[in-house]
Amino acid sequence: MPTVSVKRDLLFKALGRTYTDEEFDELCFEFGLELDETTSEKEIISKEQGNEKAEGASDVVLYKIDIPANRYDLLCLEGLVRGLQVFKERIKAPMYKRVMPNGEIQKLIITEETAKIRPYAVAAVLRNIKFTKDRYDSFIELQEKLHQNICRKRALVAIGTHDLDTLSGPFTYTAKRPSDIKFKPLNKTKEYTACELMNIYKTDNHLKHYLHIIENKPLYPVIYDSNGVILSMPPIVNGNHSKITVNTKNVFIECTGTDFTKAKIVLDVIVTMFSEYCENQFMVEAAEVVFPNGKSYTFPELAYRKEIVRADLINKKVGIRETPENIAKLLTRMCLKSEVIGDGNQIEIEIPPTRADIIHACDIVEDAAIAYGYNNIQMTLPKTYTIANQFPLNKLTELLRHDMAAAGFTEVLTFVLCSQEDIADKLGLDISATEAVHISNPKTAEFQVARTTLLPGLLKTIAANRKMPLPLKLFEISDIVVKDSSRDVGARNYRHLCAVYYNKNPGFEIIHGLLDRIMQLLNVPPGEKGGYVIKASEGPAFFPGRCAEIFARGQSIGKLGVLHPDVITKFELTMPCSSLEINIEPFL
């Protein structure tokens, strides 16, 4: 969930009134936001770097507000204020308009070299904009928020904003060999080739995260103006030449990416938010983008879409009884201009370009519910009549757990994820023999595989509790995972029961007795046919001659025995230990 921080006083000024923290928190809650923190730059620095560093930092009060991940239109002060003011019916939602320039339209020509790396681009112009320090900061911050969220850290979309007056169109979006790209990047004083830049930015805390997007590609994306000035090398960095400042009057915005839909959304969000400061408020100057196939499109789209939803559908989904007129009013408060049409039960809703999150009637239903107030909705119980059933495996597990505890064993809860070492090396097995599933992206060795046996978890629990009085009698009934090509995903769980006895003597007879008790509980009598037997066996985890395989109703279900001293040592234990592990699924 993105968090935006806005200056409280600036926010209140824009909202035309002040709130106490509690009042503002309440407003946020109602609207689906969360006032996460009230802080200041000084407080943040002092928390992160200590009081000394915070000396002299601004103590202007900041609100940190959590924004739902699909509301790109609320990621800056401008959008937040607009959304809340419309919600509180203090203003009407503005109409955003794309306009043609008086002179020639700005053109961005995409060459086919971009196809393999970053094929899409869109563009627009904010004409005669008036920045202030706060507006400028908000403009930069919005781009950063978009980059981090909808743009998926610039992988899907990257934004470049430029001082149009320093450039000369038409612009060319192409891709070139890194060694052939040379320019002065943002905030640098000399020129570098793209190769050099990629090296320099490896240590840049901000930019290093984006290098991987193009790093190993033969060609890098790049945008030139008609004089060969480089505007940007997306998605890494802009050129310094066209850098915007507080004094910039005309802004050229380009968004390049691999997801055309998202690039268009991002462009729409930026221009709808900041055209507020243009001489012609909420008017955005069009730009033309020519694709390699010769087709030409005009951006930003700023498309208004109409949906028709029946009022009774909204009433039925929310569980309220409002008139169509009231529902239209509710929706209008959510920046969805609505009116009742047709038979008087239909509501026509206009979805503005700021609300890319509205893709289905259910999104409209939610907005009606938010405007109505979730906490004003009458709570009712559905009449759904059903008979409950337990999942048979869990039912058996629940019954067994209680009787295992009744037999004097204590339940533990250990992790499914573990290291290869835990399930293989430490038990004297080769990892290939375990049929374990392997994780491709573990952050540490603790998450290399899913366990194929419960035993390591129990032994690790004992190791962490060596100070406890002996004997330790532990058990766990839980799932293990092994590969199985008969399953759709190629792996399956098995429900295992594992128990260990740890004491100064191995206590095989105790673990054996526990098996007898479990079989008694499962109503399996001793004996070969239809019953259970244990037969001498061996296994690398067990002391030679002290291991038996357990057969129930003719099927091998597991093993029991005295653990091998090597196993005991590898789990950092010092006492003899006997164990039992069986699959309980045959007893369903």
Binding site: G319, I359, Q378, M379, Y385, E398, T410, V481, V489
Partner: protein, 508 residues
């Protein structure tokens, strides 16, 4: 009882006595050994508050065995004197007498006798005086009669030098009535025995009181894990509410069921390597329900079912990628898909509680695996008000009654709402769950009828458990590093009971 008679006499004497009595006096009075009285005192003390006994020590003079003999028979010198007739006695004969040697020299120095060495048949002893006063005997008899103090210090020390007297320290008890004084005593029994029951003797026997301040002996027992005790309660709540348990015994899931089926786009951050554990082996799902997959693909990439879709190039490879499920909603999706294949549609209420996995940054409240609780209701015409109604009933059973709902965003529910409850301890609203109506883009491709709504909610098992038991670090609750003492000491899980004080941890 061996001490019976003396003890009983002691009590009777004590009853008559004014204030108390001395054990030595009593021994003297009864003519029994003092030790017998001491034994009686001790056994009475063991019975509780019948008597009080204060230990006193006194010094006194006693005759030695030789002293006793002299007190009885007279001093050696007196006996020597008496054994000499008028005509005298041969010295050699006198020395044969029992008191001869010592008596002779003493009588000589007392000048009671003389020796005539010139007698014909050897030295002969004669009386010098007609009669003697046996002062030694008289003094010894005084001591014997307990009147040693009548002797002068010098006289006593002379007798002591002669090893006739000895000074002894006597430990005696000053015995007085106790708060539970009674003359009828018998020893208290420590506990009831089978013999007493069969003979009925328990009726007549007094029993030693128990010390109720002492701790009992804890039973040897096994214990259930606290988190799983809470799991049992949650299962119980769902079953009470008529919810059927979904199968969730498949930790490995394809991206398709975990994300795509839930209308979660393939570029969604949750599908990032940083958030999800993907599998190297088996890396891909072998089978997917292809008809359904195509409907899902179309909904994502082009829309449909009234949706605009996400308008991106949906890739089957991405859907095939195996992972450790990031939520149990993948199991809910499978259950709803199965439900959709059953015609005609029958309403259903489902729940599950099982593990999910996240490749997240770990901290005091986050582990790579945790348990998710999920409830799902599918029926015609379900509303947001129904969802809130069910949530109210569900949380009431958890003992949480103050609820409010906040609009929220989830990729696969719309409308969505976070559930907050007022926490008395923290004095603020805390999030206790997430909920919503599943999106039509998720339900309709499955084949569920259009007017069927599915409401769902979820929460973690760990968080309410940590709040319930006052545990701040999740590692103290889950995994192999837990302190078994915590498991041993854990109380019952009663979610709707008044919250008690946080559990104190034993032997930390």
């Amino acid at each position: 009882m061996a001490d019976g008679p003396v003890a009983e006499v002691l009590l009777r004497q004590l009853e008559a006595a004014d204030g108390g009595l001395d054990s030595a006096d009593l021994a003297a009075k009864l003519g029994v050994d003092h030790q017998a009285v001491v034994g009686a005192v001790k056994s009475l003390q063991a019975l509780g508050e019948i008597i009080e006994a204060e230990l006193r020590s006194t010094k006194r003079w006693e005759l030695t065995a030789e002293g006793e003999e002299m007190a009885r028979e007279g001093s050696h010198e007196a006996r020597v004197f008496r054994s000499i007739p008028q005509e005298g006695l041969a010295q050699s004969e006198l020395m044969q007498l029992p008191s001869g040697k010592v008596g002779f020299s003493k009588a000589m120095s007392n000048k009671w006798i003389r020796v005539d060495k010139s007698a014909a048949d050897g030295p002969r002893v004669f009386r010098v005086v007609d009669s003697v006063e046996d002062e030694v005997q008289r003094r010894l008899q005084l001591v014997q009669g307990g009147q040693a103090e009548k002797l002068a210090e010098k006289e006593r020390s002379e007798l002591r030098k002669r090893k006739l007297l000895t000074e002894v320290t006597l430990k005696t008890y000053w015995v007085s009535k106790g708060s539970a004084f009674s003359t009828s005593i018998s020893k208290q029994e420590t506990d009831l025995s089978p013999e007493m029951i069969s003979s009925g003797s328990w009726r007549d026997r007094p029993f030693k009181p128990y010390n109720f301040l002492a701790h009992g002996v804890l039973p040897d027992s096994g214990h259930l894990h606290p988190l799983l005790k809470v799991r049992t309660q949650f299962r119980q709540i769902f079953l009470e509410m008529g919810f059927t348990e979904m199968p969730t015994d498949n930790f490995i899931e394809s991206s398709f069921w975990n994300f795509d089926a839930l209308f979660q786009p393939q570029q969604h951050p949750a599908r990032d390597q940083h958030d999800t554990f993907f599998l190297r082996d088996p890396a891909e799902a072998l089978q997917l329900p292809m008809d359904y997959v195509h409907r899902v693909k179309r909904t994502h990439s082009q829309g449909g079912y009234g949706s605009q879709g996400y308008k991106y190039a949906w890739k089957l490879e991405e859907a095939r990628k195996n992972l450790l499920r990031t939520h149990t909603t993948s199991a809910s999706a499978r259950a709803l898909y199965r439900l959709a294949q059953k015609k005609p549609f029958t309403p259903a209420k489902y729940f599950s509680i099982d593990r999910v996995f996240r490749n997240e940054t770990l901290d005091a409240t986050h582990l790579a695996e945790f348990h998710q609780i999920e409830g799902v209701v599918a029926d015609h015409g379900l509303t947001l008000g129904h969802l809130m109604g069910i949530l109210r009933e569900f949380f009431t059973k958890l003992g949480i009654t103050q609820l409010r709902f906040k609009p929220a965003y989830n990729p696969y529910t719309e409308p969505s709402m976070e559930v907050f409850s007022y926490h008395q301890g923290l004095k603020k609203w805390v999030e206790v769950g997430n909920s919503g109506l599943f999106r039509p883009e998720m339900l309709l491709p499955m084949g569920l009828p259009e007017n069927v709504s599915v409401i769902a909610w979820g929460l973690s098992l760990e968080r309410p458990t940590m709040i319930k038991y006052g545990i701040n670090n999740i590692r103290e609750l889950v995994g192999h590093k837990v302190n078994l003492q915590m498991v041993y000491d854990g109380p019952l899980c009663r979610l709707d009971a008044e919250p008690g004080p946080p559990q104190t941890q034993g032997a930390a």
